[in-house]
């Protein structure tokens, strides 16, 4: 069920989820988005530009993290504004052929602000990889019934 504006309060938890990421997921995202920067799929290229290894597209992480909000809102079209800063890379290990995740991203969200005139809720997302926040000021503005 979609939340209604009246039942929300600032600080309310909207839940969380873990996202498993593999190198294949990054190849899929590259193809779907058109962002073929080799730092997201080629180890030698990534280390050659002084990265510790292949890293996820920031936009993969941003795009995957907001699904928690889409599902909570009950309609992805309710997300009218969404922003973040990219602060740390998500390093994705090569686990090809094993079925294991190459990285795990943990997402949780809470209501950060409410606007009664606009009937919007700002959801603040906490997005963590390897014990560190990888997105800062990750905020989704949701229009509610």
């Amino acid at each position: 069920m979609s939340p209604t504006f009246e039942e929300l309060s600032v600080g309310q938890d909207i839940g969380g989820r873990s996202i498993d990421v593999t190198r294949q997921d990054l190849v899929k995202y590259a193809g779907a988005s058109g962002d073929f920067n080799p730092i997201h799929w080629n180890e030698a290229f990534a280390t050659g530009v002084e990265l510790p290894g292949v890293i996820a597209h920031g936009m993969f992480t941003m795009g995957a993290a907001v699904q928690l909000v889409s599902d909570w809102a009950g309609d992805p079209a309710a997300v009218v504004d969404y922003q973040t800063r990219f602060t740390k890379p998500v390093l994705v290990s090569d686990t090809t052929g094993t079925g294991d995740a190459g990285a795990v991203i943990d997402v949780s969200g809470a209501v950060g602000a409410l606007d009664a005139d606009a009937r919007t809720a700002r959801v603040d997302l906490t997005v963590v990889f390897d014990g560190q926040k990888v997105l800062m000021k990750a905020q989704a503005l949701v229009r509610l019934a």
């Binding site: 996202i19 997921d25 899929k28 995202y29 193809g31 779907a32 988005s33 058109g34 962002d35 920067n37 530009v49 920031g58 936009m59 993969f60 941003m62 795009g63 995957a64 907001v66 699904q67 909000v69 889409s70 599902d71 309609d75 992805p76 079209a77 997300v79 009218v80 504004d81 969404y82 922003q83 973040t84 800063r85 990219f86 989704a140």
Partner: protein, 153 residues
């Protein structure tokens, strides 16, 4: 290599049209691990009052990055793509993006700031849907900052 400071204030007019297809929405949704039925099932989307499949909240990055490519590939800009890092991103939706939309983007270079030996470049894409006749309806505004790392950064 230095970033051309005269880029600030430059605009690139809407170029090619981007046709939003149902299968592209489904493909992008799967790629960001979205499972909401409004991205996959036309009946489910229409049940929520939408005309067709709804694109995920970050779908407009496809159109925005195509617009950004005009700047990054502009030889006058002096940007080395292999040294570009995405610093921040914002999507403001004036209305959702639906399958069947025909979108164009106008690119604006809002800021160029020297940082160390590199530069922070802020761009804005104004995305419109073409309407019947010759009209344009505002759909989304995207803003992004990219850091072009200088040598040794």
């Amino acid at each position: 290599m230095t970033i051309n400071p005269d880029l600030q204030g430059r605009s690139y007019p809407a170029a090619e049209v981007y046709d939003v297809g149902r299968e592209k929405i489904r493909e992008f949704a799967r790629a960001v691990k979205a499972t909401h039925p409004a991205h996959f099932d036309v009946d489910a989307a229409q049940g929520l009052g939408h005309p067709d499949l709804v694109a995920p909240p970050t779908f407009a990055i496809i159109i925005a990055q195509r617009a950004d490519a005009q700047l990054i590939e502009d030889p006058e800009a002096g940007i080395d793509f292999s040294r570009v890092v995405h610093a921040d991103q914002r999507f403001t939706h004036h209305r959702p993006i639906f399958a069947g939309d025909r979108l164009v983007a106008e690119l604006h270079v809002d800021g160029v700031r020297a940082m160390g030996g590199g530069a922070m470049i802020t761009t804005r894409s104004e995305i419109f849907a073409l309407t019947d006749g010759d009209g344009r309806e505002p759909v989304a505004t995207t803003k992004s900052s990219i850091l072009v790392r200088g040598e040794g950064q």
